[in-house]
Every structure is written in structure tokens, then in C-alpha cells.
């Protein structure tokens, strides 16, 4: 056997091991979660209040708070993010000063650690705008964090809309707003839906931001001005601060992972529908 062939087989083995590692680690994690949490998981767990700092009882108020935080976040992210993506693709020139500046700042914002967004949200929304520890503060801060990702994905979806539609619109001298509302947005809609789902998944998995902004309260939130605990924060709290909280933490993590998997599958479904026409 010559040297080149040996190197090739060695490389193949190394790559195979890396691939195996990438598959095995999440499966091991999932196995751990299942063995720890599955026995704790039941309908009652999903629909009752936590008792004894979460050692007993369920996660119903936490699910509600999480849903409220996500709704607040999305109701800010979708209009602002979509307008921004439309501005980048339709109004401003990619190579102009503003275009370059916008795209750089989006990239940098996308790479900022979430804890920094958390601190910013705490100072700006909770203190300066005096919204306090609340679901509103948490949702708005999460929105700041999810916006760069959402804008980038929407921009991609809008740019993927076929050039031939734009050509036809130009040749027919359609108004720009007519083209955007009736041709561009509908043709990019499944991409935008996928972007929304991916941004939701990102926001759902976030912990650091919410500890600083939405707070810890594990009771049912009275309104979005009330403090509320998100799923990820609940897991963190049970695992770190509550002795004997491992099992409920694992059960909550199972719920979160299931939600994330559902969200990812639906994102995949939407983007598949959107890519090849």
C-alpha cells in the first residue's frame, strides 16, 4: 500500500471519529435527561404550579411566562426586523456607507454574548425606562438579542426571491410598494416564516438575558408587567440553587428540548418549501 492511500485512510478514520463524537455527545445528553427526567414527567407536571422551590409540583406558570416572554419578543422582532430587512434589500445600496455600516453592525451585534444584552436590558429597560424585573423587560431584551439573527435570515429570504419577478415588475413599471407588498413579501413568506421560527428557537434557549431582566418569580404572572420565570431560567435555578432539584430540572429540560426539536423541524419544513421553487 502506498503512502498516499494510507494517509487517505487515516484521514478518513479521524473524520469518522469526529463525526461519531458529534453524534454521540447529544445522544448521551439526551439519554441522561431521559433517565433523570422521564419518571418525573407527566401531564400533572405540565399543568400544575411548582411547590417547595420546584422540587415538587409542575411548571405551568413557567410555561405561561415563557410563552408571554416569547410573544412580547416576537411582536417587537417581526415588525422591526422585517422593516429593517426590507430597508437593507430594497432601499439602501449594499455598497453605500449606510449599507456597509448596517451590515457590519448586524454582524457584530449577532456575535455579542447574551450576558451583555442582559446587562444592557437591565440598565436600559428595567432601570432607565423603569419597567423593572418584568416579562416586558425580558421580552424586549430578548428582542434586541434575536433581531440581528432575524434580520439576516429575512434579508436572505428576500434576496432569494427570483430576479425575474423584479425584472417583470420594472418592465411593467409597477410601484415599488405594490411590488414589495404583492410580489416580494408573498414570494419570500416561507423564508420569513422559517426566520421567525429560528429566532423563536434562539430566544427560547436563552437564559443569561432573562435572569437579569424577567426575574425569578415562579408564580403565575398577573400581567406582562409582572416578573416571570422562563423555562431555561427554571432549569438553571433548579440545577444550581435547589438541593434535590436535579429530577425536576431534567424533566423541565426535556420539555424545553422537545419544544426546540418541534421548532427546528417546522423551520426545516418551511425552508424546504421555500428554497427550490
Amino acid at each position: 500500500m502506498n503512502n498516499a492511500k494510507l494517509t487517505e485512510q487515516l484521514m478518513c478514520l479521524i473524520l469518522w471519529c469526529i463525526a461519531l463524537f458529534v453524534v454521540v455527545v447529544p445522544i448521551a445528553m439526551l439519554y441522561e435527561l431521559l433517565t433523570q427526567g422521564l419518571s418525573h414527567l407527566s401531564w400533572a407536571f405540565l399543568f400544575s404550579e411548582p411547590l417547595n422551590s420546584g422540587r415538587n409540583g409542575g411548571i405551568a406558570p413557567i410555561l405561561l411566562s415563557t410563552a408571554l416572554i416569547l410573544m412580547t419578543c416576537l411582536s417587537v422582532v417581526i415588525p422591526i426586523g422585517l422593516s429593517c430587512a426590507l430597508y437593507i434589500t430594497e432601499v439602501c445600496d449594499r455598497n453605500s456607507f449606510i449599507g456597509k455600516w448596517l451590515s457590519h453592525s448586524l454582524d457584530i451585534l449577532g456575535g455579542v454574548p447574551s450576558i451583555v444584552f442582559g446587562l444592557f436590558g437591565y440598565v436600559f429597560f428595567a432601570q432607565i425606562l423603569s419597567l423593572g424585573f418584568s416579562i416586558l423587560t425580558g421580552g424586549l431584551t430578548l428582542a434586541c438579542m434575536a433581531l440581528p439573527l432575524f434580520i439576516r435570515l429575512c434579508e436572505q429570504a428576500l434576496r432569494n426571491s427570483p430576479v425575474s419577478y423584479r425584472q417583470a415588475a420594472q418592465a411593467l413599471n409597477l410601484s415599488h410598494s405594490g411590488y414589495i407588498l404583492h410580489i416580494l413579501l408573498p414570494s419570500a413568506s416561507s423564508g420569513i416564516a422559517a426566520a421567525t421560527i429560528i429566532a423563536t428557537g434562539r430566544a427560547l434557549a436563552e437564559t443569561a438575558v432573562l435572569i437579569f431582566t424577567a426575574g425569578y418569580a415562579s408564580r403565575y404572572p398577573a400581567s406582562i408587567m409582572d416578573s416571570g420565570r422562563a423555562l431555561s431560567v427554571h432549569i438553571y435555578d433548579l440545577a444550581m440553587n435547589v438541593a434535590g432539584g436535579t429530577k425536576p430540572a431534567a424533566a423541565t429540560a426535556l420539555v424545553l428540548v422537545t419544544l426546540l426539536i418541534i421548532i427546528n423541524i417546522s423551520a426545516r419544513y418551511f425552508s424546504k418549501r421555500w428554497l427550490p421553487r
Binding site: 427570483p162 425575474s164 425584472q167 417583470a168 411593467l172 413599471n173 404583492h182
Partner: protein
Amino acid sequence: MVITMTIAMVVHHMIKNHKIKVAKNDSLLQPSYLQQNDTLTDKNKLMHAPAVNIENLFVSYDKKDAIKNASLTANPNEILALVGPSGCGKTSLLSSINRMSESNKNCQLSGIIKLNDDNVLSDDYPVELLRKNVGMVFQQPNPFPLSIRDNICFPIKDHGMTSAKHREDKMREVLKRTGLWDELKDRLDQSALRLSGGQQQRLCIARALALEPKVLLLDEPCSALDPISTQLIESLLLELKKSMTLIMVTHNLAQAKRIADQVAVCWVNEGSGYIVECDRSEKIFDQPQSPITLSYCMGHAG
């Protein structure tokens, strides 16, 4: 007090609604300035097929000439075919006529393109008016991802035809003109993307016709289609030339021979395109002046 105000508001509301209803239902009651909106007519819009005169046209991308010094004339109610090998600037020439090439920021146009006596390349000729006068059909059929009905109704609505009934009439008229009405009248609400290629291309022609252009530019309209669809479109073009001036790019010499009244042969020299000769179709094919035309038409070159 409050009750009086409420009643006043309700009455006001009723009157307002009533007015809107009258305006929507009975266009005859509209004042003439409102009706003007409904007929796509512009006082500067051409009423008859114009002559298209191109004089000394230069088209360049990034300062590199794609077309050098092109001059030709398309006569009213005739079909002018632009033929020539790939990369000789036929499409650039065609898309200069409705200034589509302007959307490419690196593209520069100079020279004169006249519709009758107006230079459409001058800054005071409005692009909106130009594109109402000059329609365009592309190589790949590109219907919008809307229903068949909306593919035609949406552009004319966008151009200010407010009455749904007028839009419906217009749609029926252009679908009949393009021979699509009998094929499609029962499925107007289906997506246009589900039509066959030939039907899509005829729908695109119908969509352009709905804006009542007097010049139609066609960029290889049949190159993506099968022979039967091609034949349908060719006979459609022969019908259309009775009311407009047609300029088409084609790779298919036989097609040019079949339907064109006039043929312009384009060629490339050192990377830039130019027009070898432009003459009556039978002259180009029977007694060409230039050796390039001769060898191209005989199939020896290109």
C-alpha cells in the same frame, strides 16, 4: 348632547358610505377627472404604433463598450428581428429601448432612441411614460407567483385602474387576444406557475398588453418553448403587429425569416457589438450586402 353627536356621526358615516357605494357601483356617475384614472390613458401616451429610431447608440458596462455606434429603424406595424451570435449585445440593445438597462448601475447609455420624434433617453422623458408605451417580454416566462387573474389585474390596478369591472373586462380582452381565454377561463384563480411554459409566456405577453403599449420588446420569447408553443406565439406576434411596433431578439434565423419584416444583423468586434446591416428581411436572406451576413445566414459563421 352626546346623543345628538352620536346621531350626527352616524348620519355622516352613512352619507360617506353611500358616496363610496355610488362611486364604486356606477362609474357613469363619476366626474370625468375620476374616470380618467380608469382608462390607463395619459395625455402623452401614444395612440398609434410609433416608429422606433435608434441613432448612434453606445451602451457600456464599467466603461467597456458592449454596443458601439448602433443605428437602426423599426417601422410602425412591423416586426424587426435582431439576430446574431451570443454576446453581441442584442439584449443590451433591446433593453436600452425601455431603459431597463438603467437599473444596472454600471451601465451607461449614450445616443438617441426616438419614439416618433421624442428622444426617450433624454432626462425629461419620464420612465413611467416610456414603460407604458413600451412593453417587454423576457426569454424565460416570468409570471408573478399569483393567480392567472391577478397576474393581469394586479399591474393594471397598480397603474390606477380602480374599477374591478374594468379590470375584469381588460383581463378578458387580453386573454382572448393571446388565445388563452378558452384554455384558461375556467381556472382563472389557479396559480400562474402551474401553467405550461408556452401558456406562461403567452400570459406574460397578455400581461404586457393589458397596459396598452404601442411598442413590444421581446427577448428571445420562444427559446425556452417547444415548437407548437413557438408556432402559437409567432402567429400571435403577426396578429399584434397590426396595432403595434414589435422588436424581437432571436437566435433562430428560420423564425426571423418566417415572421420578421426587417432584420438587423449584429456582430462582435473586439468585445463590442455593432450592427452589420439592417434591411428588409428578404434582402438580408437573399442578397446580403456584407460577407458577415452572408456567412451567418448560410450557417457558416456564428
